[in-house]
């Protein structure tokens, strides 16, 4: 056993796992009261008579206290001054504080001693008391970190007068811990002995002890050193008092004459904290008695805080703070002891949501003492105020206002979620992690925090530095954040920062420096309407605030005349494209930090839009403008169609179905005009054909539009006849558009292609009764029945459901401007992983729509990147097997529970991925055929891997970011790779890594030409090739291809098809008959098939790489 507990005074009634206790082993029941004796002077061995003598009243009261305070089953440790342990912890001779030679080599002082020289003497005297404090006793510890906090009371003798000054107390405390550490490091009982900073506050090192063996990860004992009670006079530590002398801190020999010393509230607070450890415990345990709900409620609260990354680091909203807050609410009777854990959680969140502690602080003091400082004093010294029962300590001293606002925001959001009946609150609030990367729209890193030193100098924060013991990160952070918050006032809902966190370190290492907190991360949450505005309008030029505005924005501010005639100060940011506009906050952040804090742009790593540009590169920006001009052109065409004269029936509706018309096409079409010389011209038919010897012409995607014709008795009621009439309409539409609007058209049986503004629209006439007619079946009895057929289903999808989906999503884009871009990123990722053929585009659109319509616990994304990260997370974590994904488009659903019930009842018959929308509650039409279970499995795996990889990159600002990595598919998994000839890939330029060599594709950008030969439309040799491959070999292999410029078709043999099968007439495709064990069996003719790959793709296939080692027949 460790010396600390050897004194025979262990009163633990149950044995603690980490420290063997001799008392319990020796005396059973009676040992406990005896050991708990306050005198603690008993010899190690008690005689039998002594052991069984009735307890004295003193012992009884002690026992009572133990039971009351510690619920009888808790660990209580005391070290007697005269116990044998003291022999092994000898008192040391008093030495100067700076004389640290007595420390052995294996232990370093866990304190940054800057400046090094300080007065005072230190010697080691064994602690007067060891007591367990904190959450362990209260039973509110939660996994994964179980900490047992032990307060080690340093005896009065080691302190001197004026130890409150100039970090002398702190240094003695550190030396004291170092001394203990030195002893414990030799003990075999401990698996590890380490130092850490309490809540990453470098003035407050603590000692971490972990048991040996497999329990090492389970529990940590944290030793806090604290002064003997009554050592310091509280009045010395009021927030307005100074305890760090400027002369000492600046290492000047003599203090400046007449200069007043600034108050050091944070420094004072750090000492006061130590003095109240025990009283806080008593306070909390009195709150927790007869209050079973508190334990549950606190556990829930801690999980809630942990999931939001609020509970660790300097200035965190720690679990202890949460306990104190619950106790406060109990005191104010906002919580009563009857409440359950859930009610405690709810009341606490409600309180947090409605109270701004940075404006109106709260205090736990019961009877106000006139001598104590008032709340206003605290407000002047600290950003967030929550005063403890003693009236001296601010529990939120290190917290920045921004952090509290984040807590408040989260609480508000959580209350909304708890009140929303549609959401599973438990899952969303407590089981979903909210890392900053996924919670904030833009994040940026301050790569080198050492730059904050310069910032402190620029902002003249010497007093704060002194107060914080030289920690420039803590000193500068509140100022930096409030600077940013002011600069982004209209744009950002929330400006948050990550909490500086310093990891623990071994005792033989030097303590971490301030810069070891690593890069600081900041997160911005936008107001979507204003985040991208170009203008920052200031006060009128003649107002007094104008000067303030000018100094804040520096040179960027200029006088401008506005339409209402006023002349105002204003800042105008430069941005041409939507993409650049989204990055205006980046300009602001960089400008302000440079101007006011001297932080160069190079040390800011802005991660707002890394993904967007790198993946969907267009000539200018991200192609969002291109999409808008497509939609404009489409609107114009639909107007022209409406007003077309000379049609026998009028047009009742024109609906777009192409993804570009709902802003979700990965590569929106660009206006093109053909260069005749690269084509085979057929003048008689006014069209162009591709030439075999030239590179394949650029792919021109036809934009599908459905044109509904008025119903009339003139429509025939027969399948074949309707098709003919539709063909006749296509012919006539082409003719009329050419006559009345001079548009070049090319009619076909099923559609008419119209060349307009450089785009090609594909018009498709629809008649609303046609699906019904296709469904008609006449039974033998002559009864008419309606039955779904493949053809009718297809037509219904194209002319009814797809237009509806397109218009709904178009509406969603109007509400959430980044919906389209998020979709495009998601689709690009799916196709880059070679799976675009295995999951429908509409399905991906709906998944992304879900993120915007049901964002809980987040807010709807305001940048494509965060949307994409959440898309990956949704794919990877959603429980597709047991839950339907309900996308409430246009808020048209009310009976969600009914869908869930029906889903559960019919699970086995439903598609693996079930997506319900208001217009499609039971069939999940977009996922009916795809993806298959295997493909979904692979998709989920890829999603979680990609998410991990991309988040790792985004969290690491010091390395170069290659976020494209997740857009490069792993190919080692496939059996055969068919390499394609880049000249014949029409979309080669769309590939993830832009090819070095490009080919003339026979088009130029132009949208004005009118009279031209009709360009080559919808001609993609790779797709033709894939179609042929799938037709021929679909029962033997799967083919994967990135339709956006992939150079490789990956082939995977179906494992079952390689099993020898008995001969069957219907399954001879591509197989051959052979003898196996004198039996005739069929096996795939692999060599011939590999040659077929080349034959079928003559001119397109460069080589076929067969990885023969991967399969056996």
């Amino acid at each position: 056993p460790p010396p600390a507990v050897r004194g025979g005074s262990c009163a633990a009634v149950r044995h603690p796992p980490l420290m063997q206790n001799t008392g319990a082993a020796r005396g059973g029941k009676r040992a406990a009261p005896a050991g708990a004796g306050a005198g603690a002077l008993q010899p190690a061995k008690l005689s039998r008579a002594e052991l069984y003598k009735p307890p004295t009243s003193e012992e009884l009261s002690q026992l009572k206290e133990t039971e009351d305070l510690f619920h009888s089953s808790l660990l209580r440790l005391q070290v007697s001054r005269g116990g044998p342990g003291s022999r092994r912890w000898p008192r040391s001779a008093p030495l100067r504080l700076t004389d640290q030679a007595w420390l052995p080599k294996g232990v370093k002082v866990p304190f940054l001693q800057v400046p090094f020289s300080v007065k005072g003497r230190f010697r080691f005297v064994p602690p007067t008391e060891l007591k367990v404090v904190g959450s362990y006793l209260l039973g509110t510890c939660i996994k994964p970190e179980i900490n047992v906090d032990v307060a080690v009371t340093m005896p009065r003798e080691i302190f001197q007068d004026k130890d409150n000054l100039n970090q002398r107390y702190h240094r003695k405390r550190a030396l004291y811990l170092a001394h203990i550490a030195q002893h414990f490091s030799k003990e075999k009982l401990f698996g590890s002995v380490k130092f850490a900073y309490m809540n990453s506050n470098h003035l407050k090192p603590i000692l971490l002890l972990r048991p040996q063996g497999k329990d090492e990860k389970m529990v940590t004992v944290r030793l806090h050193a604290c002064p003997a009670p009554g050592l310091f006079k509280p009045i010395r530590f009021y927030p307005s008092k100074n305890n760090v002398r400027t002369a000492w801190f600046m290492e000047q020999s003599t203090p400046k004459e007449g200069a007043t010393e600034p108050p050091t509230p944070h420094y004072n607070n750090s000492i006061l904290c130590d003095t109240v450890l025990l009283s806080h415990l008593q306070f909390l345990s009195s709150a927790a008695t007869d209050f079973p709900g508190m334990k549950d409620g606190l556990a829930l609260l801690k999980v809630w805080l942990n999931q939001r990354q609020l509970s660790k680091g300097l200035g965190s909203f720690s679990g202890f703070l949460a306990s104190m807050l619950v106790a406060y609410l109990l005191m104010k009777r906002k919580i009563v002891k009857m409440m359950s854990g859930y009610q405690v959680l709810r009341s606490t969140l409600q309180f947090l949501a409605t109270t701004d502690l940075s404006v109106t602080g709260i205090s736990l003091v019961k009877d106000a003492d006139a001598s104590l400082p008032v709340l206003d004093d605290f407000h002047q010294a600290f950003e967030v105020v929550f005063v403890d029962p003693s009236g001296l300590v601010n529990l939120c001293a290190d917290m920045t206002a921004s952090k509290y606002h984040q807590v408040q925001f989260e609480a508000k959001r959580s209350m909304e979620i708890l009140d929303d009946r549609m959401v599973d609150g438990f899952q969303v609030l407590l089981m979903t992690a909210k890392p900053m990367l996924r919670a904030f729209d833009h994040v940026f890193h301050l790569k080198h925090v050492s730059k904050l030193q310069g910032a402190c100098k620029k902002m003249q924060l010497l007093n704060e530095l002194m107060d914080r013991g030289g920690n420039y990160v803590a000193a500068a952070l509140p100022f930096i954040v409030s600077l940013l918050a002011r600069g982004l006032a209209g744009r950002a809902l929330l400006v948050a920062h990550s909490l500086p966190e310093i990891p623990e370190w071994p005792i033989d290492a030097e303590p971490p420096k301030h810069k070891d907190v690593g890069p600081l991360m900041f997160g911005l949450l936008f107001v979507p309407e204003f985040a991208a505005s170009l203008l920052e309008k200031g006060p009128q030029a003649d107002h007094p605030e104008a000067l303030d505005f000018r100094t804040f924005w520096g040179e960027k501010s200029e006088l401008r005349r506005f339409q209402d005639g006023s002349i105002c100060e204003a800042v105008v940011w430069e941005a041409d494209t939507v993409y650049q506009k989204r990055l205006i906050p980046e300009q602001i952040v960089k400008h302000l930090l440079k101007l006011h804090a001297d932080i160069p742009e190079s040390s800011i790593c802005y991660m707002g839009a890394l993904l967007e540009l790198s993946v969907c590169p267009q000539v200018s920006g991200t192609g969002e403008e291109a999409m808008v001009s497509v939609v404009c052109s489409y609107d114009d065409l639909s107007r022209k169609l409406w007003n077309l004269k000379g049609l026998p029936l009028t047009v009742t509706a024109v609906q777009g179905v192409h993804p570009a018309l709902r802003y979700t096409d990965v590569f929106p079409p660009i206006p093109m005009k053909p260069i005749y010389s690269s084509y085979n011209r057929i003048r008689t038919k006014h069209l162009l054909l591709p030439l075999e010897e030239k590179p394949c012409p650029a792919y021109i995607a036809p934009l599908k539009i459905v044109c509904h014709m008025e119903g009339s008795g003139q429509w025939p009621q027969d399948k074949g006849a309707i098709k003919r009439i539709k063909a006749a309409f296509h012919l006539q539409l082409a003719e009329l558009l050419q006559q009345q609007h001079q548009l070049v058209c090319r009619p076909a049986v099923t559609h008419t292609d119209v060349y307009k503004d450089g785009y090609v629209f594909r018009l498709q006439v629809a008649y609303h009764r046609e699906t019904l007619i296709l469904k008609e079946v006449v039974t033998p009895e002559g009864m008419l029945k309606y039955q779904d057929t493949e053809e009718s289903r297809q037509l219904e999808l194209e002319t009814l459901h797809l237009p509806y989906l397109t218009s709904s999503l178009h509406g969603l884009q109007q509400q959430h401007p980044v919906f389209g871009s998020t979709c495009r990123l998601a689709k690009r990722w799916v196709s880059a992983q070679l799976l675009s053929n295995n999951i429908s585009e509409e399905c991906v659109d709906l998944l992304v729509a879900f993120l915007f319509l049901h964002p809980a616990p987040f807010t709807p994304p305001s940048s494509p990147q965060v949307g994409f990260l959440r898309f990956l997370d949704l794919l990877a974590t959603f429980d597709w097997k047991n839950n339907p994904l309900i996308v409430n488009l246009n808020a048209g659903l009310t009976g969600e529970q009914a869908i869930k019930n029906r889903f559960v009842a019919a699970r086995s018959r439903l598609p693996v991925m079930f997506i319900a929308t208001p217009k499609d509650q039971w069939s999940s039409m977009w996922t009916q055929e795809q993806p298959s279970a295997q493909i979904l499995q692979r998709l989920l795996m890829l999603a979680s891997e990609s998410l991990r990889a991309v988040e790792e990159q985004l969290m690491d600002p010091l390395n170069s970011q290659d976020v494209k990595m997740v857009f490069r598919p792993p190919l080692e998994f496939y059996d055969v790779l068919i390499h394609l000839n880049p000249t014949q890939i029409p979309r080669h330029l769309e590939s993830v890594d832009r090819p070095l060599k490009s080919f003339s594709r026979g088009v130029v950008k132009n949208s004005t030409s009118v009279k031209i030969l009709f360009p080559v439309v919808d001609y993609d040799p790779v797709q033709c090739y894939l179609q042929e491959l799938r037709d021929a070999f679909s029962d033997l292999a799967l083919f994967f291809y990135d339709k956006h410029g992939g150079e490789v078709i990956a082939v995977l043999w179906k494992p079952l098809s390689f099993q020898p099968q008995p001969f069957k007439v219907s399954s001879m495709k591509g197989r051959m008959v052979t003898t196996l064990n004198s039996e005739l069996v069929c096996v795939p003719n692999v060599e011939a098939i590999l040659e077929d790959f080349e034959v079928l793709g003559e001119g397109l296939v460069k080589s076929v790489e067969a990885r023969t080692e991967k399969w056996t027949i």
Partner: protein, 322 residues
């Protein structure tokens, strides 16, 4: 067949002969066509007369009918080649009259029926297995694949407006004529009994009949049911009255309850009922007389922990215990 069996790769099941074919001279590994004499019952398949027809399995995707007839031309004059998806559908196919509509192309590996002029052709074809691999694409008859094929099919997809218009007009004229004839016929038959004395009722005319659709039928049935319910006399007899009363007071319930629910809630409150499977039968008449102990043994076990226990993985209150 025995001959084919010697080469392991080209083995063939009983009745078939394996013929090696390659696309061109450059290819090394051949595919194997399985051929046999087409056999059907007399007269069943007129398009593919038995004995003169060779049934071919496993025809590679690039092998068009023309290429196939070229392949077998050396065995005798080929009368026709039919290529289809799967065997057996050799019934008289609808002759495709339209150039634009209902065009179906067969893709992938196919089966073919090669009809020779003479019976000898079939035997000669079978004998080809002795020779080396046959070539599908030769210099004299090259088969287009890849880029050149796709360009050709793109060119073919462009329709001629005049031609299409003419075809549509012709079809619609026929269709209109047909409809007009039908209507005229129907008008003539309106109200006139046929030979057996039946009068056909249509939706037109003075007394329109109901449409014969499934929906209309269901509607009628529903209406009938309601009518019947209205007519039925309830509690007419004394015993009916008694039954209803008893039913109202102690209803017989058959509740579909999940077993998990049964064992925890129902068991606690409603002990004295028997149950089987997932159904709890609560007796109506024998309210007091049910067996009391039947449930006790099977329903032991603790109640489910409160909902909060879902978070049990996160909480840890008793580190010591473990």
């Amino acid at each position: 067949m025995a001959a084919a069996g010697e080469r392991v790769a080209g083995a063939a099941p009983a009745g078939y002969t394996a013929l090696a074919v390659k696309f061109g001279a450059r290819q090394r590994s051949p595919h194997y066509l399985l051929v046999k004499e087409h056999q059907v019952r007399e007269g069943a398949d007129t398009a593919h007369p038995p004995r003169r027809t060779l049934f071919v399995l496993n025809v590679p995707p690039y092998c068009s009918p023309d290429a196939l007839s070229g392949l077998f031309a050396r065995c005798g004059r080929v009368q026709s080649v039919d290529i289809c998806d799967k065997p057996g559908t050799g019934e008289k196919k609808e002759k495709l009259t339209s150039k634009f509509f209902n065009r179906k192309t067969v893709t992938g590996f196919q089966v073919a029926y090669v009809v020779f002029r003479k019976r000898a052709g079939v035997q000669a074809a079978k004998a080809l297995s002795q020779e080396g691999p046959l070539l599908i694409s030769t210099e004299s008859h090259p088969v287009k694949t890849g880029i050149s094929k796709w360009i050709a099919s793109y060119a073919a997809s462009v329709v001629d407006r005049e031609e299409l218009k003419a075809e549509v007009d012709a079809y619609m004229q026929d269709y209109d004529k047909k409809i007009a004839e039908e209507e005229a016929k129907a008008a003539k038959e309106e109200g006139v009994p046929d030979e057996e004395g039946w009068v056909k009722v249509t939706r037109k005319g003075r007394k329109p009949g109901l449409p014969r659709t499934e929906a209309a039928n269901l509607r009628v049935l529903e209406r009938e049911k309601q009518k019947k319910a209205r007519k039925e006399l309830l509690n007419f007899y004394a015993w009916q009255h008694r039954e209803t009363k008893r039913e109202r007071e102690c209803p017989t319930l058959l509740l579909p309850l999940p077993l998990s629910l049964v064992s925890h809630t129902v068991a606690q409150r409603v002990r004295p009922f028997s149950f089987s499977g997932g159904y709890v039968q609560l007796p109506g008449n024998s309210w007091l007389g049910g067996s009391v102990n039947s449930l006790d043994s099977s329903l032991g076990g603790p109640l489910p922990p409160p909902v909060l226990a879902r978070a049990a993985g996160i909480f840890c209150r008793r580190v010591c215990k473990s």
